[in-house]
Symmetry: C2
Subunit: 376 residues, 2 copies
């Protein structure tokens, strides 16, 4: 079976069935694309497939490939050098909304290589994002880009747009996965973005050239965003957001699933909070949090965040014990402090003077009180 025949069969099938059509993916995995396509051409009954016949005559895979080539679009399929192995995980993942499976191939536009994204991260979220969400998604994408991590997203309004822009602004790589053909623009407002990505980055789709955006294609598309990346970060998602569909796929694919919290008063963060509460997503607040989770073992472990050093961080245990015993308002004597701190009087006398030197205590009339620096 030549690769050429395999390619033509996959292109033909991708014209005949919708993205994420599970029975087709399973048949192809079992029999091979050439055999499935031949069976259709020879009207052999495949009980798993129905209604594929009517348009068979219209399908011309060779013409499709030539037309795509003229538009600068290539078809990447399993076995090709550029095939991203992460997509093969879809063979084992449970379907969602009846869709799933390894795609027959991807239609790809742009100079980037498709197999270079296994360390990338998906940033997805609400189309109706808030200023907060847009800011956070953009910062996150820019930071990941600066760390050499590619960013994958859809091309929708809101978080998707902020993610692509952030990654570009961070001088990094970004990939848009579309629900329509890669020659089409949706939404129209993102024409300039999509043309820029096609010229300098990557735009991919499972749907063939010319395909219109439709809901079923968005649902199938979301599984690719999850499968192409090491993890998915959800930034703002209302409880019905499509971003939760991508999140669900990340879970099914054993990818890292992360969520950025927001104000509990913001409906745009409600879906993310729900994901975290349910234990599906891990809470992340910045690039360091994300890298700590996705980084190879030990590579990005970060010290727990802590406040700036304060004068009282510099003291010894005994001195801290003594400081803790000084009234917050007012003052106390050496005897009183020795008792409160549980320290011997002579120790207290020595340590009080050291704390005075550090600027943490002051003496007045043989009584000791805290300085403002000690109260920080």
């Amino acid at each position: 079976m030549s690769a050429e025949a395999e390619r033509l069969a996959r292109v033909a099938l991708s014209r005949l069935v919708e993205p994420g059509h599970l029975p087709t993916a399973r048949l192809v995995a079992e029999l091979g694309a050439v055999e499935v396509y031949d069976a259709l051409l020879t009207r052999t009954r495949l009980p798993q497939l129905h209604d594929l016949g009517p348009r068979l005559a219209e399908v011309e895979p060779r013409r499709d490939l030539e037309q795509a080539h003229r538009l600068g679009i290539r078809f990447v399929m399993p076995g090709d050098d550029e095939w991203p192995s992460g997509l093969d995980d879809l063979a084992l993942a449970e379907p969602l909304h009846g869709r799933g499976g390894v795609p027959l191939g991807l239609w790809v536009r742009g100079p980037g290589r498709l197999d270079a994204w296994s360390r990338s991260l998906a940033i997805v979220g609400a189309r109706s994002a808030t200023t907060y969400g847009v800011q956070v998604a953009g910062d996150l994408a820019a930071g990941l880009a600066r760390e050499g991590r590619g960013v994958v997203s859809g091309a929708a309004f809101g978080i998707d747009l902020a993610a692509h822009r952030g990654a570009l602004g961070g001088g990094g790589a970004t990939l848009a996965v579309l629900a329509c053909g890669v020659d089409r623009v949706y939404p129209e407002a993102h024409r300039a973005l999509l043309e820029h990505l096609a010229a300098s980055q990557l735009v991919v789709s499972e749907a063939p050239v010319g395909a219109a955006p439709m809901r079923v294609r968005f649902l199938a598309r979301n599984r690719l965003i999850a499968a192409l990346t090491a993890g998915t970060v959800v930034v703002e998602a209302a409880v019905r957001s499509g971003a939760l569909n991508t999140a669900n796929w990340a879970g099914r694919l054993n990818r890292l699933l992360m969520g950025v919290p927001g104000p509990v008063s913001s409906a745009a963060s409600q879906g993310v909070h729900q994901l975290i509460r349910a234990g599906g997503a891990q809470l992340v607040t910045d690039v360091a949090d994300v890298l700590e989770l996705v980084g190879s073992a030990g590579a990005h472990l970060q010290a727990p965040a802590r406040g700036a050093d304060r004068p009282r961080d510099l003291v010894t245990t005994a001195q801290a014990q003594l400081l803790d015993a000084v009234p917050i308002r007012g003052s106390d004597s050496v005897l009183g402090l020795a008792r409160a701190a549980g320290l011997a009087e002579d120790t207290v006398v020595v340590e009080l003077e050291r704390l005075e030197t550090l600027g943490l205590l002051e003496r007045r009339d043989d009584r000791w009180h805290l300085t403002p620096a000690a109260l920080v």
Copy 2:
């Protein structure tokens, strides 16, 4: 050993050692308060205790109790009807910053009963709270109060104040645990609040009457807030916040530990996010979330939050499949839709008309397109 002797011994010891003085708590648990106090009075050497001697002569527990009584303050100790059994859990909890153990007793002011708080919740957080944190803490406390859950907090600026105010506004019970004597006011700005709580609710402290606020007493106080309640909710805490000390105690005591998220750009939420990330605290966004976690099994399980019903929620599976196949922009024929949806043509004809009746699809020139209602 009479209860009277026991009470006098505990009052005396509470004058001699700081709140949360672990060696004393352990000695008292082992030998009884009377024996420990007698040993001190007779100068018997107790290697665990030191420096308690000097002020022994000044301690007059009977006078202390009388003076407290005149101020409307009672001393509640283990064995008293009013003793909150939750405090006994402190005997088993690991110490923190060297402090811990069951308190010798609590000095209590106010008409409420101290043993009625096992179902209550602590709401704690930053003194330098943001408007957001104050709003969330107040709403949470008011909602819990309306559900018959008492609220426990300190009496500090910020989240503590918002929690007490919210609980009072919700017509509920609220309890302030102080680091100074219950006859004292700290901070001074909260005089009216503390007087109101002492007159109509409860104000308690482990520190004796007259004791000044000091850091060691705050650290000891925090364990009581955690131990008195069924769970602790942290609303805003910077990475160095004292509220995290209370959170730590809640964890040590196997109490529920919950955190309210906020904007990742807010330093005031950073400590809470850290708690949730580390797996110590569960994310909660409102009263329902808290009640679901603390409620008795099954009592407060809530349906997952979902958006308002949309017309497309009302359709059958086949209709949904069909709707998903209609292009988001443009239109398609019966044949095209049958193919995209994977449905038989005659089924599609019937369902298209039903969807037209539901106002989700419209026909033009034998092609079907989505209505605005279908796009919601």
